[in-house]
Assembly symmetry: C2
Homo-oligomer: 253 residues x 2
């Protein structure tokens, strides 16, 4: 079932005219017809079933009915923050993290980042990744589109991003026999809390960066005994979080 | 730390001559020098630290010492079986599943598979994917290289692949309020058991295929409330399995 997001509040039994991107995507590309259905999620995360009633040359009209469906968002606000890797990896991380339920996807530059973004290209890079998040959120039937952000330094990220639980994925933790740190934290989570985890670049974090993060109350955690690539680690984290909070003991408000 | 696998049994304090692929990879490409170290995992999954003692024109010699390290393999034999998707996705699944600990990576053709492999190209396709698994196993410091296999039909897979637990990832399970099925199974696992999960193609499994699998004692399970792409689902499964058996309550023999 196709799904789009709209930046307005909708009401049941409303008739709505759609144009622009939605028209091009649903009518021109996907070739939906009169009487076809798709889903619309509004700005309040309400889902409506939309039936196409009229198609014009550059817009189309739909009739809305409320759709009742189970919540498909993680019960905790999850933020993944990844040090810059090569472009393709950023696209993958953004797409997969959206499928796996992240609410914010943050990229930042750390000492050993593979790449850097000149300030003038940051808006264009973020636009590109935000578009990927939007498409993935539509395909995954998310109720919200993750926000993609960027910080040029670790210090700025530490200063600007806060969460109830602030973690750093640190490979050495797996080796130091402190395997259970992540599970301990996940099991303490309560619905509505927020959780952020930082993931280093291919070269890992510098010792001073780990010290700086610990001084700012970040906890180190391991992600199992195998070495995970920079783009795999955040997906492990989000999958484990979903497993703990949605499959094992369902966290509910 | 670089790691290679060798198809022989090694002993501590042994001197070993390496040539061919290992020589090209470690000496020509990575440019290791005399006195440099790397790891070798032998056919019995023993790890040795190898120090280069001599480099010749087409081979090199190392001195071995036993290396003690924690087990980094999942405590259960995990088999992921994925219906054929586009080539890039197969490469990605193979690489990531290896990082995440799978022991067998099976591809098969089902009703709605995106692609098919003519019998004449199957060996070449498998060689390519096996090479990806080898590289990923080396980089992840695995103790074994996952075996990549292919079945041309679902019936052949059902007949030839067995495991203590046989599952099918089925999206509708998430919607049918039977969210906890995967967790129930994971929590019953005992060290040394085997677990296989089938993942459908982009179009999902046909109703008759689900019926056929159920008749053959496969259990249906959901992977959370969001729709996951065909290449993301097996990674969710392996991450959740690692979280349950390696981070939460460590399964040990």
């Amino acid at each position: 079932m196709q799904q789009i997001f709209v930046q307005q509040r909708l009401t049941p039994n409303q008739d709505l005219v759609l144009e622009g991107t939605s028209f091009r995507h649903l009518i021109k590309v996907l070739r939906l017809h009169v009487n076809d259905y798709f889903w619309i999620v509004d700005k309040q995360q309400q889902t409506f079933q939309a039936q196409i009633t009229t198609i014009n040359s550059d817009n189309f009209q739909v009739h809305l009915q409320t759709l009742h469906r189970s919540n498909c968002e993680l019960p905790v606000t999850s933020i993944i923050a990844c040090s810059l890797s090569k472009k393709d990896k950023l696209d993958w991380i953004t797409q997969k993290a959206t499928e796996l339920g992240a609410q914010q996807i943050v990229f930042f530059r750390s000492r050993y980042s593979i790449m850097k973004w000149a300030p003038t290209i940051v808006p264009k890079k973020l636009d590109h990744l935000q578009q990927i998040a939007l498409s993935a959120a539509q395909q995954s039937h998310r109720l919200q589109v993750p926000q993609v952000k960027y910080y040029a330094t670790l210090a700025e990220l530490i200063k600007s991003q806060n969460a109830d639980y602030q973690l750093v994925a640190y490979e050495q933790m797996a080796q130091e026999q402190k395997k259970g740190a992540l599970a301990d934290i996940f099991q303490q989570l309560q619905a509505g809390q927020s959780l952020m985890c930082l993931f280093g670049p291919e070269g890992g974090f510098a010792v001073e960066e780990i010290r700086q993060l610990r001084q700012n109350k970040y906890k180190l955690c391991g992600l199992g005994p195998r070495i995970l690539r920079a783009e795999t680690a955040p997906l492990y984290f989000l999958s484990a979080l979903s497993y703990q909070t949605e499959l094992e003991k369902e966290l509910t408000n």
